[in-house]
Amino acid sequence: MSLLDLLRTAFSNLRRRKLRSFLTIFAVVIGASLVSLLVSLGIGAQQFLTAQIKAMMPPDVVTVASDPNRFEIGVGGIGFGGNPQEVSDDEDSPLSLEPLTLQDIEAVRALEHVERIDPRVTLRAESVKLQGSDKSFRTSLRAMPQYQVESTDLVAGRYLTEQSRWECIIANQYLDSFGLEQPEDALGRDVIIRVRQWSSFIGLPSETKDYNFEIVGVTEKTLRSTQIIISIEDGKELSRFWADNPDWYTDDIPPAILQVKLEDSQYADQVAQAVEDLGLGAITSKEVLGLIGTIFIIIQAVLSAFGLIALGVASLGVINTLIMAIYERTREIGVMKAVGASRSTIRLLFTTEGMIIGFLGGAIGVGIGYALGLAINRISHATFLKDFQTFNISAFPWWLMVGVIALSTIIALAAALYPAHRASRLDPIEALRYE
């Protein structure tokens, strides 16, 4: 039997019992659309998070910490629900940090392919307000070197330079908070950033200090909606007041975390290894993304499990349909054998029917999943994700479509194996006598 005849016969057999075939296919459709939609939501979230992390941790930057285990915590180290981790006397708590030594910093600076190093400045600001206004807002301050500032997208104004003092770039969302119509309206205005000393965290007496910054730029809308970017130098100064320690970020107390810029992202692994060889901790954006990828694989597996259960149930429908078909077509199978169909031909005929059910169900299901995904994207862009037009909750890469169709086909094929085997083993003489 040629492939064409096989398909033709299988299709015409499915058409004979239209309602039953439709219902069987429909069950596969439900499973396939569930799997594809849920996985697409997972992919969408992952793509978004990945983009955000890439913005915060450029691929050509290695983050270096004084503690070699700083970045080894991973997911399991938090110890939530697990037994308490044993700590040896000569080991630091994984959540504490010592300042780097000047020798360490120089050693890192001297590494091959290192372009420049900057301290990672720890900053806490209590609030921010537009000068002349009495409304204060929460804020998260970030001190960045110029090259990193330049990797953010502005809708108005300019970037900070190495020489910038008391200038800042505000997140787009502040325009709304400050009551400004256009991004350009913010440029040249002053904001007052209030810093309260860290001792207030634990209830000790503390002081506050106000710093004036001129707005020179406004970013595009991103998830970091309360971010205000200032220069490293300004950051150090605010940080010293916050920590109530004028020696911080000087040669007396060097930073604990460095941001190391490389000549090119291809050297990231090499430099990270060299840093670890110095007895320090290092992490690259690739490693963080890898960790996120692992987490998302787990999330997606859980999500797709629901759809897989539906597909599994649908496969029972396929088995049922095909076994019914054997009873209906017993005589026909007998005739087919009498005129020259071998066992393998009969088996192939039934597995092809199963595959067609799976393929059609998968294709229609992916189509529906895709349409639902589009609808969800539309609705979300019109409502709660109005500010994130580039973020799609549901993302449908080609491999997801192909994969779900292939999966449905394979599951239906597997379901068809037993009925096909039974049909092929029918005794032709009995089958021809069957009423």
Binding site: M1, D5, S12, R331, V335, K337, V339, G340, S342, T345
Partner: protein, 229 residues
Amino acid sequence: MIELHDVWRLYRMGGESINALAGIDLKVSQGEFVAIVGPSGSGKSTLLNIIGGLDAPTMGRIEVDGQDLSKASDRELSLYRNKKVGFIFQTFNLQPTYTALENVSLPLVFAKVPLWRRKRIAREVMETVELSDRLRHKPNQLSGGERQRVAIARALVNDPKILLADEPTGNLDSKSGEQIMELLTRMNKERGIILLLVTHDLKTAGYADRMLRMLDGQIAEAVDRRQAL
């Protein structure tokens, strides 16, 4: 040429074994028409099914044109049924959802003949059985005699060496029955196809060159009309 040597076929039915065939020796030459008569359960149909490769003997040897069927695999047997044998049943066994032409084409599907050639060959055979005006009819739109002629066309479509007919006139009125027998005899004489025919009806058996009477799985009597005449 068909040769059976001491062919046995045992069936087990609820712990009891029944000899459907009990040591059959038989030779049928090219172009012969042999009628097999006998009471129900005498093994007539079993003999036909074994010669047709639908059933396998428990013991003994069966050869068709030098091919040993008792040792053939499923694939070889299905090829044999497809190329060398045409079955004709009492109940026609046509596929009700197919047209007459599609029913006739069925063996060609398994012979991997492409669609356009299938149609041509099937049309020619439908002409042979004088049903050229019934190509697109479904079986339920045909009379009993016409249905059996479609079934005969299906049996002839792969140009077989052997036609195996199990009570082909059993479901037909006498006039249609005669027409069918004339058609089968014509195919036997014109094309030199071996015709093995199982029947209850002595009148139908009267068309044959040779008549075998079976009883309890054995050939009880053989009458050669050609010698008798």
